[in-house]
Symmetry: C2
Subunit: 329 residues, 2 copies
């Protein structure tokens, strides 16, 4: 990640927008897994931003029913690997309304043409990609730089150092989970439904695992259940047959995850799989900021270790799509 | 709904907060179905608010990892039928931080004790309750009053009149869907998974149908899939066996729902159930505001017509709980 260039870009935008009353709001706009990749940025902003508004939209919702506040005081950050049509539409609309736009991308497209600034990230699906180079990391880093410039976010330096710690934790976690994922995959290869439980800073990682890895790539129905919502409805489904995959995050919302786990352990240990950020070593990152890195560790491990193991156990190539990119929709 | 009292309450809060620099942000905080009931308020604020920040949190996430901006310039609106423990904790925290608090409730509890203001709503589960008296309607109304007072929301009078139109549309839709729901229930009574597809202003109604009606009350796994995300992953699961229930909303995001429906019709008509706000008569409400009422129509119809029909077809009493309220968790 070219952090200097990101820093300079945000500095330039903040300066340029001063004439119009200042940068007042940021929108995170994307579709599918790219949308999920913005959850860590939004989670960070929801908790740390003192006055900058931050809102997340799916590209289509942003384009079809745009916020009336969208305008000169807005920064719109969009993400798409290859220029998803509705994300391009959202970018064009943002430009028309006078907002500044940043594209996160893998391949150049209409999106990078339209946007004022563009940063190339690396697909986490490649073995050599570091966790700090994926779209979710760019999103979180952009959020941190924004709050550093606008509100002097106090743990900025610590957070920035943490990205390189993250890369080391990720490599170790990969090796650690390889044999565990194989066992999980063998046990779950014939399931048609797998619940993913995740909360707080890990919710986005659970969401991507559900909609991209399990549903899109393995055709397994997968509700993502917020651990803070579980005992307010969904837990009535708990029994010894229903497979669940629960992410336990590090940080302030951990007690909510642990509460769910205690309930599950009381009622069934039959097919509950626990992936704990503590077990994966996330606490090697300073605890003043580690909470914000849960997604950045969980998401690549789920994509590159658990999905791959399941694809092998099921003999279902995860590159194969029956509808996506095969037809117009 | 005692609209005068709600109006007077917001007026008093806005006035009282002027000394501290004004009311700058509103938080919607609840758990489970009550949390889902705030989605229409948040959807409205996301699109209409020009400067008032609006954020939604589950009670536990708000309490465990509170926003650093929470303080004297904040209004926290909480909802719980009977004083959910973590919603009470969230209210106490908000008070400690100097925020103003409003409780929406059915039975008085610690929540109404702690909060500065309280409004009793009516459970939509009772036959005689009007759609305009349920928690989701209070949430939306509060959001509209806030934007009327602070930003002079232009369609306020029209929106307020629409609550009584909604009540008439709801009664007609109830009668209309009774025989349809019976057929749907007969066909789906043996399913263990039902996908609920919903987007934009109807997403919250879909979410409540999934986590409260299908999962909590009928033990059926139910991913809620955002129609704007469907073709970016989940649609790869589409086949002739997987039952889907799709909400088509009125308003600007309707094309996103219709796109999903067109895809489904192309690939399967086997077990797709369509509930369309247009068919239910939502367009009897003026189209400048009808979009914001989708949830308020869908949600009670799903709860009182579709859930009940399914409970009868399955012979599974929807009042019965195996874990909820039966033990500590």
């Amino acid at each position: 990640m070219d952090r200097k260039r990101v820093n300079a870009c945000i500095e330039e935008i903040v300066k340029a927008r001063k004439a119009d009353g200042g940068l007042k709001q940021v929108f995170w706009v994307a579709a599918g897994g790219s949308n999920g990749g913005f959850f860590p940025a939004q989670y960070f902003m929801d908790r740390e931003s003192k006055s900058l508004r931050s809102q997340s939209f799916t590209s289509n919702e942003f384009f079809l029913a745009p916020p009336s506040s969208l305008g000169k005081n807005s920064l719109v950050i969009l993400c798409s690997m290859r220029g998803t049509a509705e994300t391009c539409d959202a970018a064009s609309l943002a430009k028309e309304r006078g907002a500044t736009t940043i594209a996160l991308y893998i391949e150049e497209s209409k999106l990078t043409e339209v946007c004022d600034y563009s940063f190339a990230y690396e697909s986490i699906s490649y073995d050599e990609t570091e966790a700090s180079e994926m779209n979710a990391s760019y999103g979180l880093f952009l959020a941190m730089v924004l709050l550093k410039k606008l509100e002097n976010y106090e743990h900025f330096d610590l957070a920035i150092e943490s990205f390189s710690v993250l890369d080391r934790v990720y490599r170790d976690a990969w090796n650690y989970t390889l044999p565990l994922a194989k066992k999980w995959a063998e046990r779950n290869k014939n399931e048609s439904v797998i619940w993913v439980l995740a909360g707080g800073p890990a919710y986005g990682a659970g969401y991507i695992f559900s909609i991209c890895n399990l549903e899109e790539m393995q055709w397994i129905s997968s509700p993502t259940v917020n651990t803070c919502e579980f005992v307010h409805g969904p837990f009535e489904c708990t029994d010894k047959n229903l497979p669940m995959f629960i992410l336990i995050s590090e940080g302030r919302t951990r007690p909510a995850d642990e509460r769910v786990l205690a309930f599950l352990k009381k009622h069934t240990d039959q097919n509950i799989y626990v992936l704990d950020a503590k077990e994966l070593g996330l606490s090697r990152i300073d605890k003043r900021v580690s909470e914000y890195f849960n997604h950045l560790l969980f998401s690549p491990i789920l994509n590159n270790v658990y999905l791959r193991a399941l694809a092998i156990a099921k003999n279902h190539d995860y590159h194969y799509r029956r509808y996506m990119w095969q037809e117009k929709y």
